[in-house]
Amino acid sequence: MKKDKRYAIVLDTRRCIDCKACTVACKTENNVPLPEDTCRNWVTEEPLRGSYPNLGQSFAPSQCNQCENPPCNSVCPTSATGITEGGIVTVNPDKCIGCKYCMLACPYDARYYNEETGAIDKCTFCIQRLAVGRIPACVETCPTKVRTFGDLNDPCSEVSILLAKNRHRVLKPELGTKPFLFYLI
């Protein structure tokens, strides 16, 4: 019997070179306004480890965790936030009144206020691309292929195999949000 899809992204941050291709690809794909603060995905330079000349540094790409229990959902007064097929958390800009409760509620800071639409905006795994059988822009464009996208309900999908074979973690598991962004360790 065919099960519903459950989309997820698995990230191997060891491969990230902080080139920002994902950020620019997302901005052009989703018409995200330009300032650095307004973005659906981002790469953070982790603080330097050690001191000169013994240094190390990691780069941390991230975006909406598409939580199974999204705290942003319950606080929305107008039901603008919803969960759609595949577990993707979405915002309906027509219903959104821009009150920003959801921005405060999101423990991953994955939402921003879009000045142009007057609504909250966030990562949708490029739902418009999924609809035509394509993968999210950030996944596709990445030079070093940090991200892998797929359906976790399909045990043969690349994401399922990656998670089965590798140690991984999610962000802030203690909050019980059940994120679907997985980081390989």
Partner: protein, 732 residues
């Protein structure tokens, strides 16, 4: 938890959203078009069909495969072409930001003729006819008053239409074209050509052991190396990285050594010393394929790891270990020779040293080693340049040991223009090269431009060079024109082209049209050589190979193999004089150059000064894309890196504005106090401190490295030496 540390910055904006409206730049291309329409720059946003157009990126030198998603006549998104094997089906930040080039409010929209003083930025809108008439008239005037060599032609690379510009130079009769290699990799080409007769590509994907000297592949992206660097064959990969800076490549390396700037050759020679002394070299390869090994042995005797440690400040024990590991991993080991090799004035000898080190471990033309490029043959667009009797040699002839006739040597060329010797150069035609941002010592470049009778620049934005020109002609961007085919050599060679994704906006025209129109006005002899259309050029290129055109149309790229071919040159004559790998260069000896690389210590940094380092990063291409709204949003300005301990000693704080002063100029920019740099160096990124107010996003931001770097260059290849400058810094 820095994965989510953006929280703070976003929370600051809660409840004050309307204040940011003025600075929020629109993300949608349709909105940009509407804004332009409101200004009267375009009549209405374009309407047209939906299409997915295969083309090739024009944002940097890599020429990656792109699919332009055109909706309602607007390019909405650029996606990587999954068929494009060379870039492993990716598109970087710049590639993605290409839409911002087309719909850039700062684009050149119509021809401009200067009305104020040079550099004042006063232009008037002109029609194409008037502008082109003026350009041809001025070119002829200079030719008549001086000689045809009195007009110089400075050209970019990689637009695929640069060939037509070079053709115009040749047909007009000027030998004085100046291109980018001597600001980039000419010492590399020279060093490897002298050794192997060709400049090979390192097989990064299959190498088990890679050493990179200042080749910052995580930031200065080169496809496929930047991608393959992280892959490795079976996880055995080891990456050793030498750089005075802790770059993003250092962050990915197994070991980073903050080598003293300009001493890489000491490290290389000491590695050779260990490999020779311990008999770790490939005896068979050296015996059968190399000449001059016998002379190398005594040459490197004094270059011990202990000696090198004193020069390059990398422990002798580490040099010894790395040399042994490198030889053990051979032949799947490469000492990566980089691309931009314009570091020091003895750079060709460093590249020779690297070539020799690679040669003696026998990694030539094998999997995981140094592989000579393959290239797919395509037809040549030919022409017959008219012969002019009175045209002298290149202006820079004889200025360096090996001058490329096609490229020239920028720094000595400019010196001679300024001296007016051996003859005056008074006209300057520029095709998309940003001379003022790229050639070191901007003040001297400005002087050179000052003494010109006439300057014409063809570009897509008001670069600094365009800003100082007399006539500025708007070219159609790489997404708006049909370009000829380009055959890109490599381990896996490809053929690419560009198709127009939308109709050229404003009054912009493809360069082929501009060249033909100028040629028409230069007289019959020149005009006759420009009687062709772009379609005819392409037909010539694919003659007898219709499958190329078909592949380009249906998958955006043509290639003949997806697996590398190794060993094509083994057992055959190389293109050196001896036909073998020339460890000892007879050719150099005859020219009075060191036939084996001799180490020269870099000049000692004067007390109170720092060595200025410059570099690239993944967001901007040289002096050309820092005004792109998407890219500028990532990095709005550059900073001056200073070592934390050094800043503490000097009482300088992070974020304060400092003035950086060299012998040739001064620039003011923000200080970035960081552990990521040696205490004796400072660093600034390239592409800022612009002069042109026509670049509204980046104008007034950061400092310009070209304004600080002195006019030093490598006397063998002519490559500019960008790391020979010392600066002092003070609070601004």
């Amino acid at each position: 938890m820095s994965l989510i540390n953006k929280k703070l910055s976003r929370r600051r904006f809660l409840g004050m959203s309307s204040c940011t409206l003025a600075t929020a730049v629109v993300g949608s291309q349709v909105k940009v078009l509407h804004a332009l329409a409101k200004n009267g720059d375009v009549t209405t946003p374009q309407r047209g069909k939906d299409d997915d157009v295969f083309t090739s990126c024009g944002m940097c030198v890599n020429k990656c495969g792109v699919i332009a998603r055109v909706r309602n006549g607007v390019i909405e998104k650029l996606d990587p072409n999954p068929n494009f094997i060379k870039s492993r089906a990716m598109l970087c930040a710049r590639g993605n930001a290409g839409v911002g080039v087309v719909y850039d409010p700062d684009r050149l929209k119509y021809p401009l003729i200067r009305t104020g003083k040079r550099g004042e930025g006063k232009f008037r809108r002109a029609g194409w006819k008037e502008a082109l008439d003026l350009v041809a008239k001025k070119m002829n005037e200079v030719a008549e008053k001086y000689t045809r060599a009195g007009v110089m032609f400075a050209s970019t690379e990689g637009t695929y239409q640069d060939h037509f510009f070079m053709q115009l130079a040749e047909c007009f009769g000027s030998p004085n074209n100046v291109r980018h290699p001597t600001l980039c990799l000419s010492s590399n080409i020279q060093g490897f050509m002298a050794t192997f007769g060709t400049n090979p590509t390192p097989d990064v994907l299959n190498a088990d052991y890679i050493i990179m000297s200042g080749a910052n592949r995580s930031e200065a992206l080169i496809t496929p190396d930047s991608i393959d660097m992280l892959k490795g064959d079976g996880g055995r990969r080891k990456l050793i990285y030498l750089d005075p800076r802790f770059t993003k490549t250092a962050a990915k390396a197994d070991q980073w050594y903050p080598i003293k700037a300009g001493t890489d050759l000491a490290f290389v020679l000491a590695m050779i010393n260990v490999i020779v002394n311990e008999g770790l070299y490939n005896r068979t390869f050296v015996k059968e394929n190399c000449v001059g090994f016998d002379k190398l042995v005594p040459h490197v005797r004094s270059y011990t790891p202990e000696w090198a440690e004193r020069e390059c400040e990398i422990p002798a024990a580490d040099i010894r270990r790395i040399a042994r590991e490198f030889a053990l991993a051979a032949p799947k080991a490469i000492y990566y020779h980089g691309r931009r090799s314009s570091f020091m004035a003895n750079d060709t000898q460093l590249r020779r040293g690297i070539a020799i080190l690679n040669a003696i471990i026998g990694n030539w033309d094998v999997k995981g080693g140094m592989v000579p490029n393959s290239r797919i043959k395509i037809g040549r667009h030919d022409y017959l340049a008219p012969w002019y009797d009175d045209v002298p040699d290149r202006l820079d002839a004889g200025s360096v040991a090996y001058l490329s006739e096609n490229d020239g040597a920028w720094v000595p060329f400019r010196d001679r223009v300024l001296a007016g010797k051996p003859y005056p150069v008074k006209g300057m035609m520029v095709y998309k090269q940003n001379v003022l941002a790229s050639v070191p010592d901007r003040a001297r470049s400005l002087k050179m431009m000052d003494q010109m009778d006439f300057i014409c620049t063809i570009d897509i934005t008001m670069s600094d060079t365009a800003w100082y020109s007399d006539v500025v002609l708007p070219e159609a961007t790489y997404l708006e024109r049909q370009d000829p085919l380009e055959s890109i050599g490599g381990i896996l060679p490809v053929v690419v082209w560009r198709q127009p994704c939308i109709k050229a906006m404003f009054e912009s025209k493809p360069n082929i049209w501009i060249m033909k129109e100028i040629a028409k006005r230069l007289g019959n002899e020149v005009a006759e050589q420009f009687q062709f259309t772009i379609e005819e050029v392409i037909q010539t290129q694919v003659k007898g190979q219709p499958q190329i055109l078909k592949a380009l149309q249906t998958q955006g790229v043509y290639y003949e193999k997806t697996d590398p071919t190794y060993g094509r040159t083994l057992g055959k004559r190389l293109r050196t004089k001896s036909g073998k790998v020339e460890i000892y260069s007879e050719k150099y000896a005859k020219k009075g150059l060191d036939p084996l690389p001799v180490y020269e210590a870099p000049k000692t940094t004067p007390a109170g000064k720092y060595r200025l380092l410059v570099g690239r990063h993944a967001f901007f291409t040289h002096g050309t894309t820092s005004n792109n709204p998407y890219l500028n949003a990532i990095m709005p300005e550059n900073t001056l890196w200073l070592n934390t301990e050094e800043a503490r000693r000097r009482g300088l704080q992070n974020g304060m504005r400092v003035t950086v002063r060299s012998e040739v100029g001064a620039q003011t920019l923000k200080l970035e106090v960081t552990d990521k740099i040696r205490p004796d160096c400072v660093y600034m990124a390239h592409g800022f401190g612009v002069l042109s107010k026509g670049l509204r996003t980046v104008y007034g931001k950061g400092g310009c490295d070209a304004a600080l770097i002195g006019s030093s260059y490598d006397k063998i290849s002519g490559n500019a030496a960008l790391h020979e400058t010392f600066v002092q810094i003070e609070r601004a």
